[in-house]
């Protein structure tokens, strides 16, 4: 005898479980976080410490680094659940697979995207960014990293169980990340030149909205193909 769970509570349990399982391997989670800090700090060492130059390149440097660190953790999104059969059980459940996929994406974002939103302004200080720029940087990353996790999920599901996945995901996903990069970094650049960032932020929001609709659907289709 067991109680029938509502969709909402199942989804909450999946989110909770994914975060818990990922948190058991804290070093993996922290590695992505530290990669972001280390990689971003390398750029001034390569280009010289001219404050003007640093300020000009900060949006692109921080955004590209955020993009890469999100991408580095993509292969973990489904791989361990796929390897031990959990994913198959999840898909056999009576809950819609699209929503299960969405929860896994959300868990990935909370562990790899969200921390960057908080640490990026600190790195931004190293790049001589002003308060207004830092605000927009954090806001654009808040929306953008979720879009990155959503789009990245498509690459992660398409490459499930394939050898040499890491590089392959990069090739598949990076071109799809371009609009997020353009509008995200564009919003911060708009502040730098004294223009309202609202246009770029709205477009970033539009990309996020589209990704929110299409990415879970495409990921579900890819998962079904991988588990056939």
């Amino acid at each position: 005898m067991h109680k029938k769970l509502s969709t909402f509570s199942v989804l909450y349990k999946i989110l909770e479980r994914d975060i818990k399982v990922a948190w058991r391997r804290q070093s993996d989670v922290m590695a992505v976080f530290f990669f972001f800090i280390i990689a971003a700090s390398l750029f001034p060492l390569g280009s010289g410490a001219d404050p003007k130059l640093l300020n000009a390149m900060a949006p692109s440097v921080l955004w590209v680094t955020a993009l890469l660190s999100c991408m580095l953790s993509l292969s973990r999104m489904y791989a361990s659940d796929y390897a031990d059969g959990t994913l198959e059980q999840m898909m056999l459940s009576n809950q819609p697979t699209v929503l299960i996929v969405l929860m896994k994406i959300l868990a990935h974002w909370m562990l790899s995207g969200l921390p960057l939103v908080f640490v990026a302004p600190l790195i931004g200080l190293q790049f001589n960014l002003s308060g207004a720029q830092l605000q927009i940087l954090a806001l654009s990353l808040l929306m953008g990293t979720l879009a990155l996790s959503l789009i990245g999920s498509i690459g992660a599901t398409l490459t499930l169980g394939i050898r040499g996945t890491g590089v392959l995901i990069a090739i598949l996903v990076l071109p799809l990340y371009i609009p997020v990069l353009v509008f995200g970094a564009g919003a911060v650049n708009a502040v730098s030149i004294g223009v309202s960032p609202n246009g770029a932020l709205s477009l970033l929001g539009a990309v996020l909205a589209m990704a929110l609709v299409f990415a879970p659907l495409a990921s579900t289709a890819a998962l079904k193909i991988a588990l056939e």
């Binding site: 398409l158 598949l172 353009v182 477009l203």
Partner: protein
């Protein structure tokens, strides 16, 4: 499905099977190849010898007779590839997947051709081999999308899964193409305006347009010939053990 097909008088599903498609493709290839060679030679003759020298750009502009049709086909073939990929997923038709797989290398080749000819044109006109302008950048990203599709196809050993997974990627890419192009355009616009538009009268001599269209038709026939050859190879590779190809 079978009834529907036979009722319409012509069995249009007949050639959806690799078995019947294989000989048909074999018959089409020489015709397409010969007419492609003739049209491309004629188009180049018009472009290089007949068309007048441009009074602003001099002789250097003549590369557009290759550049513009190549750029058209780089985009057209991507959409065609996505269409076949979508048909494969919807109807679960093996031949559709084979077509999508066969189109990708030709599309990537045209994209590369458009990039190389564009940069050859850019050096005398703009004074630089590469300019980060919207259309060049979009074309470069299109090449990345083709590379993604081809690498995913190559990375998966199970052919059925490779077909389906890369089909999903092609569709995702096709949805993304307009967004990427728009974002890049928003990011930077520096290119000269489009020289052919459907609404305005063309701002070029009729002979130039004629040369370009002949080149485009030549490229089209070339694409068909090469794609059909590749599909035939793929059918042979995958079905070499089935009865239809046994020699004994």
């Amino acid at each position: 499905m079978k009834n529907l097909a036979t009722k319409s008088g012509f069995n249009w599903l007949k050639y959806a099977s690799p078995k019947t498609f294989y000989p048909l493709a074999g018959k089409l290839i020489p015709w397409c190849a010969i007419s492609a060679a003739t049209l491309i030679a004629y188009g180049l003759y018009i472009g290089l010898l007949v068309a007048p020298t441009d009074f602003q750009q001099g002789e250097g502009y003549r590369i557009i007779f290759v550049h513009v049709p190549a750029a058209w086909f780089s985009m057209f073939l991507y959409l065609l590839m996505a269409l076949y990929a979508g048909m494969g997923l919807v109807f679960n038709a093996k031949l559709s997947y084979l077509m999508a797989t066969a189109i990708a290398p030709t599309g990537a080749m045209f994209t590369l051709l458009a990039l190389v000819t564009g940069s050859l044109w850019g050096k005398p006109m703009w004074g630089a081999w590469w300019v980060w302008d919207a259309r060049l950048t979009s074309e470069l990203i299109l090449l990345f999308l083709y590379i993604g599709y081809i690498s995913l196809q190559a990375a998966i050993d199970d052919k059925t899964r490779a077909d389906k997974a890369s089909a999903v990627l092609a569709l995702v890419g096709a949805i993304n193409v307009p967004i990427i192009f728009f974002s890049v355009k928003w990011w930077n616009t520096l290119h000269q305006g489009s020289s052919i538009s459907l609404t305005k009268a063309p701002a070029m001599a009729a002979i130039m347009l004629q040369g370009m269209l002949i080149m485009a038709i030549g490229f089209w026939l070339y694409s068909i010939a090469v794609i059909l050859m590749r599909v035939r190879c793929e059918i042979l590779e995958r079905d070499s053990k089935t009865a239809m190809f046994r020699q004994d």
